[in-house]
């Protein structure tokens, strides 16, 4: 065994085996176009989606130029209209110029596209070519022109499927980073909304943007997020989940320590509380840091609905969380250890059901829970066309037939169903799935020790939660450590006119709005009435 691990380490440390990409010093471009194009073809393995278009410009000097881009990654319409056509039309102007001047002329006058830069090294050239820019090479020049023509197919902005609201905006993030930053900036029209871009992933070179509101976000947290992002050294980032796992504070936990959402309004709201958003190109899921426990029970709609309704719903969600964690455990504990705690008539009813069931309560509960998890997993994975088959099998076979066959009791079916429904009602999927997992641990604890085990489990759970950190912020803030002034937006949500501070544990700028902005009707209803009367008189 030890030798096995050693070998593994050796492989890791081997400097020669790094993704097959040459990470030597930056190499400059060659002066000859033909050599350059050859090198590109060789480097890209003659990939068929790289379009190389050579053409001669100028009527006398016959400068050979090449336009390169990757098919599908660019906005071909704009290349056609503003680059190639423009080069054709201005061909005469380039007549008397040498290659260097011609390229400069191209950059300054001819190319009528927004963003034009120079590249001199191969690494930079490939990076911009692969990210959807167009490269213009001219024979006899050791530089290339890099024109921003990013485009290609994009999904339209749709309603997010994971966090649906009744009231609230309907737009959701897409897979395009630029669309996503736009959606945020549309909501926060301030120069203080800062976007820092970087590329992570040695092979994928995925664009990652760090977004925060300067002056509201805590600089320490911003720096920490930046430091952790810069420290990532991995070949690929295909989804924000990669980043989440690479920058979280604690890895040995089932609880999410970064919040992720598909909703731009949720991101905007969190940015204004001082959080930092991490947007990854290629996924609609945006990360928010730091995350606290109570945040996962707050739906965006809470801030749009009246405060009393939101508060009631938040209490409901906390209840739901406990149900989804300990409902089956409580049932197992009560029916196998603490029958005295169940009202007499109920215990007789449950006993009657259990008479014919051959399994102990724990086995029965575990069986049903696992069955349900299988059903649920199947429901997610199966092709949409056979969806109805699952519901038939699930409802009839697992529910009705299992009871009639005397394998499970109806009471257990009720418990498992209420647990499942409660789990679905948790607003954050990450939190729900975590509850799903620890539920089984609680069931085992209940089967071994009864309520004693359940309570032990809850104590351990609370200790664990209190020990978690998200970017240095204790996970249970502001409940533990308790910050009384910040409790207004936790289990309860105080009305907006009273919510005049940002959370101090996240934001450095605490004043959200002026004090005493309690809405007040005009002093006297009479004024309103007089105005109306006068209006009437004028009309007549």
């Amino acid at each position: 065994m030890p030798s096995f691990f050693k070998r593994g380490k050796q492989v890791k440390n081997n400097p020669n085996k790094k993704d097959g990409i040459n990470h030597n010093l930056p190499q400059p471009l060659n002066i000859s176009l033909a050599v350059n194009l050859d090198f590109i073809n060789q480097k890209t393995g003659n990939s068929s989606d790289i379009v190389i278009r050579t053409k001669k410009i100028g009527t006398h000097t016959q400068l050979t130029t090449a336009v390169l881009y990757v098919e599908g990654m660019v906005n071909e319409q704009s290349i056609q209209d503003f680059l190639i056509e423009s080069m054709m039309n201005n061909s005469k102007d380039l007549n008397a110029l040498g290659p260097q001047e011609a390229l400069e002329k191209l950059a300054e006058d001819v190319v009528s596209l927004g963003h034009v830069t120079w590249v001199q090294e191969w690494d930079a050239l490939f990076l911009s070519l692969m990210s959807g820019n167009t490269i213009i090479l001219v024979d006899g020049v050791k530089k290339a022109l890099n024109v921003s023509t990013k485009g290609g197919e994009k999904r339209a902005i749709e309603e997010p499927s994971s966090q649906v609201t009744v009231r609230g905006p309907r737009d959701g993030f897409t897979e395009s980073l630029s669309t996503n930053t736009t959606l945020i900036r549309k909501r926060i029209n301030s120069p203080n909304l800062w976007v820092e871009s970087m590329q992570i992933g040695r092979v994928t070179n995925t664009k990652v943007a760090m977004v925060y509101v300067h002056g509201i976000a805590n600089d320490k947290i911003v720096n920490e997020v930046r430091r952790r992002l810069k420290a990532i050294d991995i070949d690929s980032i295909l989804e924000s989940g990669y980043i989440e796992q690479l920058i979280e504070d604690q890895t040995s936990t089932t609880f999410p320590t970064l919040y992720h959402t598909e909703r731009p309004d949720s991101v905007a709201g969190n940015l204004l509380e001082g959080r930092v958003a991490i947007i990854v190109d290629g996924t609609p899921f945006v990360l928010l840091a730091p995350a606290i426990f109570i945040q996962f029970f707050q739906a965006v709609e809470d801030y749009y609905a009246r405060f009393d309704i939101s508060t009631a719903l938040r209490f409901l969600r906390i209840l739901i969380f406990f149900i989804s964690i300990i409902a089956p455990a409580t049932f197992v504990a009560a029916t196998t250890f603490h029958q005295e705690m169940i009202p007499t008539n109920l215990v007789i009813a449950i006993a009657a059901q259990r008479e014919t069931v051959p399994f102990p309560a724990f086995v029965e509960a575990a069986m049903m829970e696992v069955t349900f998890e299988i059903l649920r997993e199947a429901g997610i994975r199966l092709p949409r066309a056979v969806g109805s088959a699952i519901s038939i099998v699930g409802a009839l076979v697992i529910g009705q037939a299992a009871v009639q066959a005397g394998i499970v009791t109806p009471a257990m079916v009720i418990i498992v169903s209420i647990t499942a429904i409660a789990n679905f009602a948790t607003p954050s999927f990450a939190m729900a799935i975590s509850a799903r997992l620890i539920r089984f641990a609680f069931m085992v604890a209940a089967a071994l020790f009864g309520f004693y085990g359940v309570i032990l489990g809850l104590i351990m759970l609370i200790l664990h939660l209190c020990g978690l950190r998200s970017f240095g912020v204790p996970y249970m803030t502001p409940i533990a450590p308790v910050i009384p002034a910040e409790l207004g937006d936790t289990f309860i949500r105080v009305p907006w006119w009273a919510l005049w501070r940002r959370p101090s544990f996240i934001s450095s700028n605490r004043t959200r709005k002026g004090k005493n902005k309690h809405p007040q009707p005009p002093r006297s209803r009479g004024i309103v009435n007089t105005d109306m009367e006068q209006g009437d008189r004028n009309e007549s």
């Binding site: 007789i348 009657a352 071994l448």
Partner: protein, 404 residues
């Protein structure tokens, strides 16, 4: 091994070495709903266990095929003490005896009269499973065994029937008392408060009560009825209080929640029925020449429930007269109860405790012989303030028109 590994091993051994020592599946439990205690001719205890048969009680789905059996099974075990009996009973059962849902303890009149209940209580009080809130009743003229084995309609589990009867009859009729184990112990150790328990009788052909026939008829062959209050002295049953005297007892004990008082009106007996809806009784004591004088101050409020004779209930004077008559009637009930208790020499009203509170010094002298010497001589003044709050849906009885 580092600390983490040690911790993990310790943690796992806690989980797996301890096992599930107190784990008990529902299918391994015999849920006992009631216990009946008798004494046989040889002076040994006979305990009858009423065990719920869950499959036959719970409605809804009928899982087991076959005929519907009785909702309970019952059997008697003989032994010298209760613990022995409870262990011995396992020879008759396939399951573990489970006492946590036993909420009724039936003691036979014979046992209560001869040996008393003092010796029985400890075993029940000491047991962690048995509830202190279980009700205790006396089976009158009948063996506790027969009582516990009798099937009842409506409430399928007989113990439930008895407990509900106790609860609702106390609430609506006010002539029986629901007394639980805790109350019994409190009364037994207090020198200034005697014990009363409710009695139940079986009516009908007793052996038939144990058959399913009993509950398959509209008119059950054997019925269980609450009847009278048993007066205890020094833990032994001495007498029964019945009828209006039982009502008077509850008035003094401040236990009346609602009841019915009928008064004489224009020479017609029980002409006006008064429904008490609210009641409060305060008992106070004063000492006169070393003899305690009790003042029972009753305030009752209620409405007219029925009128057999024409009365003009519109008139305040008539209402006042009705109230006076009611007060007299209630006074009579209470005095009857007091006389009865004084005759039995058992202070079931807790007058001694009141004396103790008002004059601790005098109580010290009185308490040694309170029940036998002082209590029977206590003078009881009863002051009743009855109030007619409303007269139902009408004022004038429709009979007043009929007269003409």
């Amino acid at each position: 091994m580092n600390r983490k590994t040690v911790f993990l091993i310790l943690f796992l051994s806690v989980a797996f070495l301890s096992g599930c020592y107190s784990q008990k599946e529902l299918t391994d439990l015999a849920i006992i709903s009631a216990l009946g205690i008798d004494k046989n001719e040889n002076g040994r205890y006979v305990v009858t266990f009423q065990i719920v048969n869950p499959g036959n009680v719970a409605g809804g789905q009928q899982v087991s095929g076959g005929a519907q059996g009785p909702p309970i099974t019952a059997f008697s075990v003989t032994g010298d003490n209760l613990v022995e009996i409870s262990r011995k009973a396992t020879t008759r059962l396939s399951r573990k005896m489970y006492y946590a849902h036993a909420n009724l303890l039936v003691i036979s009149e014979k046992l209560a009269k001869t040996e008393g209940i003092l010796k029985l209580i400890d075993a029940f009080d000491r047991d962690p499973e048995f509830r202190n809130t279980a009700s205790i009743v006396i089976s009158r003229d009948v063996k506790a065994a027969d009582f516990v084995k009798t099937l009842t309609p409506v409430d399928k589990i007989p113990s439930n029937k008895v407990i509900k009867t106790l609860k609702f009859s106390e609430q609506r009729w006010g002539r029986i008392l629901d007394v639980n184990l805790q109350d019994v112990m409190k009364s037994l150790i207090s020198p200034g408060k005697g014990l009363v328990l409710s009695g139940f009788r079986l009516f009908g052909d007793r052996p038939l009560g144990k058959t399913m026939q009993n509950i398959q008829q509209t008119n059950p062959l054997v019925t269980i009825r609450a009847d009278g209050l048993a007066v205890f002295k020094d833990g032994k049953l001495v007498d029964w209080i019945e009828g209006k005297n039982a009502g008077g007892t509850l008035w003094i004990l401040n236990k009346i929640k609602a009841t019915d008082v009928d008064i004489l009106w224009k020479k017609e007996k029980d002409a006006i029925s008064y429904q008490v809806t609210r009641q409060q009784t305060k008992v106070s004591a004063s000492m006169k020449k070393g003899v305690p004088v009790m003042l029972v101050d009753v305030r009752a409020e209620g409405g007219i429930g029925a009128v057999k004779v024409p009365v003009n209930l519109n008139s305040p004077n008539v209402i006042l007269a009705v109230e006076r008559a009611l007060e007299k009637e209630i006074q009579k009930e209470i005095q009857g109860a007091v006389q009865h208790a004084q005759k039995d020499k058992s202070d079931i009203f807790g007058f001694g405790e009141v004396v103790h509170r008002t004059d601790p010094a005098a109580w010290k002298k009185l308490k040694h012989d309170w029940n036998d010497a002082a209590f029977p001589k206590v003078k009881v003044k009863v002051k009743v303030d009855a109030f007619v709050r409303r007269s139902g849906l009408r004022n004038k009885p429709f009979l007043s028109n009929f007269e003409k």
